[in-house]
Amino acid sequence: MTAVPLQLPRRLIEFTLDGQETRVPEGSTILDACRAAGKDIPTLCQGDTLTPKNACRVCVVEVAGARTLAPACSRRAEAGMTVLTDSERARHSRKVVLELLASSTDLSTTPRAAEWIKEYEAKPGRFGADVARLNEEPKVDNDLYVRDYDKCIQCYKCVDACGEQWQNTFAIAVAGRGFDARVSTEHGVPLTDSACVYCGNCIEVCPTGALSFKSEFDMRAAGTWDEPAQTETTTVCAYCGVGCNITLHVQDNEIVKVTSPHDNPVTHGNLCIKGRFGFQHVQNRV
């Protein structure tokens, strides 16, 4: 059971969501309202533990009277607003954004990307064969994790998690500009020379698999990564007295990665290097 901290009561506001009168607590985003109403809006840069940067723009919805579409993940619902989540305009933008992403980035490890591409009938191939792509080689500069920026959609979640939203380490930031912008350490130095403390909280929030455990990266390369065959067991980290929940992902009786429940009020999904990576002793089979 997960403890849910009680919050102060909030005023309900009323607005129209796809023709339905909807009531949500004040401060809710349109996305919150959609989810409460059982509507499925695609999102990539939105994370349950972070303030959304609303950079990916796949969750755009149409707000009546507004010149442009609004990102559902960060636009707060306002009383009297009329929102269309599935209008032709919104669907068109989502389709094109998915095409732009898929034509420039490797979305093969992005959960649900293929499903959305099918749903919105996106055809990333129509920009031609010789389009500009990120074309980055995976950066393997340490034994704990791999940065494969060919899969990066620049959602800023890792930067926010490393920086002031969670970890306060500031080992990575977005550098450069425009299509050449990349998540980078200072001067592009290897992670081992950077301020990185290997908490892995960036991996935790990465929506595309651009950041992954070295174990996962190697197994994917070897073709042995089999997510459906994995079991997840949540337990308590034994390293210190804080009592973080850790979830062990086990495949073939081996721990292949460790996460933490996002709704846990202690970790909010974050861990330290020991909780996240210190699992070799469990399965040391020299």
Binding site: K53, N54, A55, C56, R57, V58, V60, T68, L69, P71, S74, R75, R76, R89, H92, S93, K95, V96, V97, L100, L101, S103, S104, R126, F127, G128, V131, A132, I153, Q154, Y156, G163, N168, T169, F170, A171, I172, A173, V174, A175, G176, R177, G178, F179, D180, A181, S184, T185, E186, H187, V189, D193, S194, A195
Partner: protein, 674 residues
């Protein structure tokens, strides 16, 4: 914060440059070379101290870049230690701006403009010749390097180039500006008031050196030259291959830049309102400014009180001239009403729209007008601090404004008690560093705060949460300067000019193939034909780009479009920032469109997907069809339309939302690919 710095050490010159801005490090915690006993007992800094000083990041990067020409690892690390900024973040900021380099490069960098107006007037040939006679772009040769640049705002003298030579600033940046060379004779104008002789000041060749550093070529007076060449800038416009080669080899021999009024063909005409002092009043003299109507608006503002000023601006019907045409009085009113404080005023002087140079002419030719207008605006909205966010490519405007601020301060027109009215207000100039996006009103805040110049999503709007998260009014230069005639003559008199919904006068930046390019001031309601007649249109007019790269093209048979906000809107185009780029039959339109697409691809900040990738895909499509028409181009045009629609609908800010406008209008109105 427990930040990890790198091991790279700054050179003495780099350390000097940063200390020149921030002062010597007070302790070992802040990059000092030795630690005092006290340092060993006491750790300073922390999150709040870091947040307080983060806004010095951009000035510190400028300090190093100005002195050395690029920003090394050691310099960046020292800046980070001084300001408690994480190196990765500072690196992200330094690599955001086009004028900075984090790789070694020569001290002399020549920026050759290849943007719309310059392209229309032969910048391609200039670049080809420079490659031939000097070196290819980006290749360091003879201690210099040249590179192609987006619009330098010198469109009336296109093609243009800007040379920046890094080095020690020979004197403090706030040196009073030396006297100007005599203004060219204009018989119908009254003679200039006499200026007192200033024997101590060095002879000033009007070359717009950043920070008022004098002494190009003539050497500095009364001071030993420092080791190495001093920091200097030089504008070369029109840029001929010979002039560029001379400038890049010996910047000290660059001829003087013509005075700002040469960019205003109507200068001295009695009907001018916003340009009335351009060329008739010495921009370096506060006395001359006051003798020509200066500071009457501020006096009137004090008699009206803040609410009265806002009422007057509302009644005058002034709307923003930056492109969005939002009612200025309304913006001020809402800002003034915010209970949160302090309130800030930001003057958007990051005029980077290709083809726009009116704000430059105003700031160079009448800097006190902006200072006074900002003081009035600050008073109205209850701000004590104003910022001028000035684009980095305007060294002369930087020098002129810096001088104007300094003299206004010494005369009690800025500072703790303005005109004895008990109102405290001061203005700081923040230099941009080459990023069009920083003209977006919220990107300005991030840039000033020392973050990457990425726009923020709205809401919240700047009037609620702007600079430093506080209520902020952002107005561009031309908008602010309009406040002076409103207060001098009253709202009714102001509103009597123009049309019902577009009141007052408007500045237009006419460039391209016209006989007399420059800034023109016309009352709202004049039409495009009348404006072109003033500027001398070409025989075979092909098209006019109205509103800049984010605007739209109009055909030669559409010249009756009234130049008002409502008139251009009705005609399916926009006034935008007042760009009127005139193209004749000699211009290859597909190349111009490619340049527009290139511009947006280069200038996209990269934050949101529709703009970051969409601008690239559109440019690719334009490349594919540059020599095609009709059915052969149809598929790619359809593709661009689809991408353009998504960019317009789903981009975070105006850059992505408008990036497709001009190309679309060229396809639809000009039939470029038919």
């Amino acid at each position: 914060m427990d930040l990890k710095y790198t091991d790279a050490a700054p050179t003495d010159a780099e350390r000097d440059a940063v200390d020149g801005l921030l002062g010597p490090p007070p302790s070992g915690w802040e990059g000092g070379t030795t630690r005092s006993d006290e340092d060993l007992r006491w750790a300073r800094g922390g999150v709040s101290a870091a947040k307080d000083r983060r806004d010095q990041l951009l000035p510190a990067l400028h300090a190093v870049n100005d002195r050395i020409g690029w920003i090394s690892e050691g310099a960046l690390d020292y800046i980070c230690r001084r300001l408690t900024v994480a190196p990765a973040e500072a690196y992200g900021v330094a690599t955001f701006y086009a004028m900075f380099s984090v790789r070694p490069r020569p001290a002399k960098v020549l920026h050759v403009c290849t943007d719309l107006a310059c392209a229309a007037r032969g910048s391609a040939a200039v670049c080809a010749d420079l490659t031939e006679s000097f070196a290819p772009a980006g290749t360091a040769t003879e201690g210099a390097v040249w590179q192609e640049s987006p619009c330098l705002g010198l469109c009336e003298r296109a093609p243009a180039a800007l040379l920046i030579q890094a080095g020690e600033r020979p004197e403090p940046a706030r040196l009073p500006l030396p006297a100007l060379p005599p203004l060219p004779a204009r018989p119908p104008l009254p003679p200039l008031p006499a200026r007192p002789a200033l024997p101590a000041r060095p002879a000033f060749e009007d070359r717009g050196s950043g920070g008022g550093a004098p002494g190009f070529g003539k050497g500095r007076v009364g001071e030993q030259p420092a080791a190495g060449a001093p920091h200097r800038t030089a504008v070369i416009a029109p840029a001929t291959p010979t002039a560029l080669t001379t400038a890049i080899r010996s910047p000290e021999h660059t001829p003087a830049e013509p005075p700002p009024e040469t960019a205003a063909p109507q200068a001295g005409h009695p009907t001018l309102v916003l340009l009335k002092r351009i060329g008739t009043t010495d921009p370096a003299s506060l006395d001359a400014y006051r003798a020509n109507g200066g500071y009457t608006a501020l006096r009137r503002a004090f008699t009206l009180g803040p609410a009265g000023v806002i009422r007057e601006v509302l009644d005058a019907g002034l709307v923003g001239r930056g492109g969005a045409a939002f009612p200025t009085g309304r913006k001020w009113e809402v800002t003034a009403q915010q209970p949160d404080g302090p309130h800030y005023l930001v003057c958007n002087a990051d005029e980077s729209e290709p083809g726009t140079f009116k704000d430059r002419v105003l700031m160079e030719g009448d800097p006190y007008a902006l200072v006074e207008a900002m003081t009035v605006a600050g008073y109205a909205i209850g701000a004590r601090q104003g910022f001028i966010y000035l684009r980095g490519e305007y060294p002369r405007a930087f020098a002129r404004l810096g001088h104007a601020l300094e003299t206004a301060r010494t005369r009690g027109l800025l500072g703790p008690d303005i005109l004895g009215q008990g109102y405290a207000f001061d203005i700081e100039i923040r230099r941009g560093a080459g990023a069009y996006i920083c003209g977006e009103e919220t990107a300005i805040f991030n840039s000033i705060e020392g973050q990457r110049g990425e726009p923020r999503s709205k809401p919240p709007f700047p009037v609620e949460k702007g600079l430093f998260g506080k209520p902020t009014a952002v107005n561009n230069v031309e908008t602010l300067v309009n406040v002076l005639p409103i207060l001098e003559h009253g709202a009714a008199a102001y509103a009597a000019t123009g049309t019902g919904t577009s009141t007052g006068t408007k500045l237009f930046c006419v460039s391209g193939q016209v006989a007399r390019p420059g800034v023109y001031e016309l009352p709202f309601g004049a039409n495009l034909r009348e404006l072109l007649e003033l500027a001398g249109p070409p025989q075979d007019l092909r098209a006019v780009l109205l509103g800049g790269a984010a605007g739209g093209f109009v055909r030669p048979d559409e010249l009756d479009i009234p130049l008002t906000f409502e008139g251009t809107r009705a005609a399916g185009t926009t006034l935008g920032s007042g760009v009127v780029l005139v193209l004749d039959g000699s211009v290859e339109l597909p190349r111009i469109l490619l340049r527009i697409a290139e511009f947006f691809r280069d200038e996209s900040c990269g934050q949101c997907v529709p703009c970051r990738v969409g601008t690239v895909r559109q440019e690719e499509a334009l490349h594919r069809i540059k020599d095609r028409t009709g059915a052969a181009a149809a598929d790619d045009i359809a593709l661009m339309r689809e991408v353009g629609q998504a960019m317009r609908d789903a981009s975070i800010c105006g850059l992505g939302q408008t990036a497709w406008n001009a190309v679309e209008s060229a396809i639809d109105r000009l039939g470029v690919y038919k």
